[in-house]
């Protein structure tokens, strides 16, 4: 497909591809096996200005927006979904500051994020608050000019490795959703520690940890937006980030399809390559069709965001759900094409399948997002605007 990329977008794509092929591919199995955070690759991405892509120009970024970010994420994920997620989650953590931060907060944090010298993480989920994001228990209590934060965030990507976290806490527990607020907390603040490091099925190179707050004192100036805006910050942040999860899945599926095609042409059974069998051909054809459809949807959603549209909840959710379901199916079928060796760790197919699963779960499960899409449809009586 021809997407008429601009010169800048082509540069982002080719550079992300080089990083993927030259720096990620040779070590992806090792990173997965050892559950090792990809610091060397993060450094390469920083040196190549990849973290600048999604940060506006006035904060040392390149101001390339959501679409270019998706292109970069896709290319990285083609080699390793885990490394790509580390990068995408950094964009996610910076979004609350980008969307609702004050100019002082932007000046203070965004240039370091753009340079890649500091990673970020987004802290919403708790043990009792997954899809039901309004059920969070973490509190932020006013204490003079500061806030004291108490509670535990769970499953936080880049947890422990990132320097900057945007977290959601209740400033007025009596008001539910409307009583939550967003804060910027920094690694090293007294009372802020890291808890359990999760051992995961896939995306094992990524860091997933608890953020533990025990009377963590955060200056009042670290409040993002104003008190009570937490739920809106969260929803908007996720709306913007969801095409990125779609891009992770498109890249992952692309890698799986390429591996399956190459293997099918090389593997011989009954005196011919297995790619000569129509049963295999049709599997590959279905994988390719669904992949291209998902890519088109992800790109369209990202471009909708870049167009300055006010509401893109539906588009983001559609891109995320469709692309992640597609990646689960494509990676499963890719493994099937590999046959027995696909199940073995010597080949990348099993890792891709393990990596795919989480994409259907995080940043809104595909079930809750179908609710979101349906709600949008019903709200405007299914009429296109």
């Amino acid at each position: 497909m021809e997407y008429y990329l601009t010169e800048q977008q082509k540069l982002v794509k080719s550079l992300a591809r080089r990083i993927a092929e030259e720096r990620i591919l040779p070590v992806r199995a090792e990173l997965d096996q050892n559950e090792e955070f990809p610091w060397a690759i993060v450094k390469d991405m920083a040196n190549s200005d990849l973290f600048r892509v999604f940060i506006p120009e006035q904060y040392e970024g390149l101001g390339e927006g959501s679409f270019a970010l998706c292109i970069a994420v896709e290319e990285l994920s083609r080699a390793c979904c885990g490394v790509a997620l580390t990068y995408a989650a950094d964009a996610l953590g910076s979004l609350p500051i980008l969307l609702y931060g004050s100019d002082e907060q932007k000046q203070k944090y965004l240039p370091d994020i753009a340079a890649g010298t500091k990673l970020t993480g987004f802290g919403l989920t708790e043990s009792g608050a997954g899809s039901d994001a309004a059920a969070i228990k973490t509190t932020a209590t006013r204490d003079g000019d500061d806030y004291l934060i108490n509670g535990t965030k769970q499953f936080i990507t880049n947890g422990g490795e990132a320097e900057i976290y945007t977290i959601i806490a209740l400033t007025d527990p009596s008001r539910g959703n409307r009583g939550s607020s967003a804060f910027i907390v920094e690694k090293g603040m007294p009372g802020f520690t890291f808890g359990k490091k999760e051992q995961k099925m896939g995306i094992r190179t990524t860091a997933t940890r608890e953020l533990v707050f025990h009377n963590c004192r955060v200056p009042g100036e670290n409040l993002v937006g104003k008190e009570g805006l937490g739920f809106i910050v969260t929803m908007k942040t996720l709306d913007v980030s969801r095409p990125g999860v779609g891009a992770l899945s498109v890249g992952l599926a692309q890698g799986a399809l390429e591996a399956a095609v190459a293997y099918a042409q090389q593997r011989r059974q009954f005196g011919q390559p297995v790619s000569a069998f129509q049963a295999v051909q049709h599997m590959l054809a279905n994988m390719a069709m669904e992949l291209e459809a998902a890519r088109a949807l992800v790109y369209a959603a990202a471009k909708t965001i870049d167009s300055g549209a006010r509401n893109f909840t539906e588009e983001g959710a559609m891109a995320k759900v469709f692309a992640t379901d597609m990646a689960m199916k494509v990676t499963t079928d890719a493994l099937q094409v590999f046959g027995g060796v696909g199940y073995m760790r010597d080949y990348p197919a099993e890792k891709m399948m393990r990596d795919a699963k989480i994409n259907q779960i995080y940043e809104g499960t595909n079930q809750v997002l179908r609710n979101v899409i349906a709600l949008q449809l019903l709200k405007r009586k299914a009429q296109r605007e």
Binding site: L11, L15, R18, I19, D44, D49
Partner: protein, 259 residues
Amino acid sequence: MNIVVCIKQVPGTTEIKIDPETNTLVREGVPSIINPFDCYALEEAVRLRERCGGKVTVISMGPPQAEEALRETISLGADETILLSDRAFAGSDTWATAYVLSRAMARIADYDIIICGRQTLDGDTGQVGPGLSEMLGIPFVAYVNRVEEIRDGYIRVQRMVEEGYETIEMALPAVITVVKEINVPRLPSLRGSMKAKTAQIPVWSADDIGVEEDKAGIAGSPTRVVKVFFPKRERKSEMLQGSTEEQVDNLIRLLEGII
């Protein structure tokens, strides 16, 4: 610290074909790249600048299309680039090339260190670096694998020799050639690539740098290539038969025949 890096654009292949008629390299259909060893030189220069400040200037003598290679060095961290291009330079051997580069250095004038790759992928001689230092009358160390210390007028480097390392101190300005063990070159940066697209690359001609015509190009090149050819590979094999004892005896007999 003003650092100058000399690079060459070479055919991007290790399977070099030679035109038997003209004894020159076949360049058609082969994409051009920056000589890989020069990438290590550039990376080291950029790292030295990051350590001590200053500026990295990359120069290359070559045809107009060598501009592409120079452009790429900007995306890899070079501050300035200069192309030395003139019909008078065409056909230069390593001697004449070193002379032309030395004239360019005379015009640059303000430099602390010149870094070259140990050799090129196509010519393979490794002579231009040392030749350049001779013509400039400044010290030279080849096969550097580590810059241990560098400051105004002083450098200490480690270089690879056949059975180990040597540590050498010398005065600056100086010329060093580097081996691939010295670093891992970075990938281009997006900002650098955007800058590279629009950068103006000055071209210096023979007149610009005061090159005497009979000292450059074919006229200034004492090297004459009489013939270039691939050595014929001849392999004979003989299978030793019989019992183990017979095979050993036969092998000893054969080896004695060779020695």
